[in-house]
Symmetry: C2
Amino acid sequence: MGRRAAIVGAGHTRFGALEAGPRELLRTASELAFASVDRGFDRRAVEEVVLATLGFGGWQIGNVSAVLAEESGLAGTPTIRVENACASGGFALRAAVHAIESGACDLALVAGLEKMTDVASARRRYWLGVSGDTEWERSAGLTFAGVYGLIASRYLADHPGAAEALVAVAVKNHANGARNPNAHFQKIVDAETVRQAPRVADPLGLYDCCPVSDGAAALVVARAEHARRYTDSPVYIDGVGAGSDRLAVQERPELTRFAATRRAADEALRSAHVERAAIDFLEVHDCFTIAELLAIEDLGFAGPGEAVPLTLEGATGPSGRLPVNPDGGLKAKGHPIGATGVSQAYEAFLQLRGAAGPRQVPGAEQAMLHNVGGAGATAAVTILSSG
Amino acid sequence: MGRRAAIVGAGHTRFGALEAGPRELLRTASELAFASVDRGFDRRAVEEVVLATLGFGGWQIGNVSAVLAEESGLAGTPTIRVENACASGGFALRAAVHAIESGACDLALVAGLEKMTDVASARRRYWLGVSGDTEWERSAGLTFAGVYGLIASRYLADHPGAAEALVAVAVKNHANGARNPNAHFQKIVDAETVRQAPRVADPLGLYDCCPVSDGAAALVVARAEHARRYTDSPVYIDGVGAGSDRLAVQERPELTRFAATRRAADEALRSAHVERAAIDFLEVHDCFTIAELLAIEDLGFAGPGEAVPLTLEGATGPSGRLPVNPDGGLKAKGHPIGATGVSQAYEAFLQLRGAAGPRQVPGAEQAMLHNVGGAGATAAVTILSSG
């Protein structure tokens, strides 16, 4: 299919523990996205507004897609909220692509938001926790760190040497985050610090886990044929794919492969008419370091266990043959839930225009984004290319 | 445009205070929808699963679109949750139409769900309340009944005689509900009972307000060209439209007109290439009786204040010239938030196939559905026709 839509502008707030509230975050990300469009345009040309947010219930704001329309100066415009747990952003972008391809609109604003640090930690744990199975897993004490800890235990048992690959993922993503001025953590962490860190859910330690972050990101998405009205450097959305799975991990045949990711990747590649060999870098959903290894394998860039040598040999580093998470990933950039998938597309927008500064992936022309909800119960994959 | 997609199957649970939990409600509605498809088919042909739900946070279930996929036997399939407060159902159907028209899928399952009676009433009030403005309105004590009470006060001041039209809406919708075996309330209520009822938010009394309900509804939606593979009597979706508005009613120029509804109706009619005169009946969002009068006017079937004589003369009754809410509306059928917009399409599916039994609108060939989020901050309008 190819060139299904195009990103012509993108904005991003700092990720971290922020003073700004949800309305201000939406306003800031939207204004930055509009301002980034190379050629001036009337924002009233936007015909669809899509918001990704999990909404932690601590904001005192509902019907929040209308709030995005309001804060972006687009009150009146059709707007929807898409929520698929941590994959909300990837699915919101996909919904905008569907709206454009359907002929319903020519120009859309997509934003992702989460304001997590205002919410009491017990409530936050509840809202995150219920995105996994409660009936048999959460009620027995299994947190998301616990689920990924079990997955990591299984993976480490199957693939000797994987423990050092987890360390390498943390070290790499922190180094990448240190080059990203929007990242929650912008500090280099060495391997020994990662190894010695307190355990969270063995074998996962503190540096294996993404932080609790606030933040927002926004994209201006146009019909592909119109993209050059807005910029000489559009970033095309060539393919989108999605998948789902049983909510409870115990209901699945194996712990260390996510069927939703595999299905989403296959669909995205098929719809884009792109081979994996053409992909220059990946943005994957590394909520925990183990998730980056799984993603590389489930997306089809390595066989089972092969993400270990790939990572240890540096192939996924910024100058490797398949850079992964050049922006620092969820691990270092942070993970404001609804914003994450949109932020991945922001990174692709910079990278594929050669505008990523000190973290630029040399010659990047094609990217794959991977956004997961729950422990693999929903997944969205997006393939983008430079003009 | 015309014939943008087609409903080929529809299922509906009873609405009311139900024993069944959210998973069972989703399973029941989905199974009824699949079973209603005239010609047997493999449900694995469904390529997109869309869930509308506000999710009251009392269910201990998140990432709930994956749960719909699971409960409908479609685990693995791409799935999204759409949430626009009480308009979630209308927007979910619209998202499915976009997905089909975009070429992303040929067959979709759309379901709406709410399980409200399991949730403590303080929490329920919170979750409903935040769908209106909190900063300046809810925090000052304004509930949704309060907002609609203010709207009704203004409307009554402008249009003498309107008080009796509110009574007539309640009496009519209860009479309609008495002919709907899925309705929450299936009892006839007389005018004097409505007039004498306790006040909720003056001038609105108990019978002016929709109830708190549980329930689910589901639709099987196909590419229009494929509809006759599934049934000889598809119900076509000819147009969809949407709009939004400022969340706070105080930010709007007038209380008694909803700009979001007007915009949504105009877009839906334009995209369907249909004139209002061709519409045989309406399903409107009568969360309060005053809302039915506003809807009739904002949808363009009466000028300001003209819904009063239209209602008093019986034009909106089951054998009137423009039946409104033949299924009993939110008022009597009930209002399980996410299910409401999907339930409206279920009613159209029956009516436009001539299968609505004792509440059949004679000769109905074209319908308009109207679903509102908050006090008019989001609105979706859908136009459907018989094959």
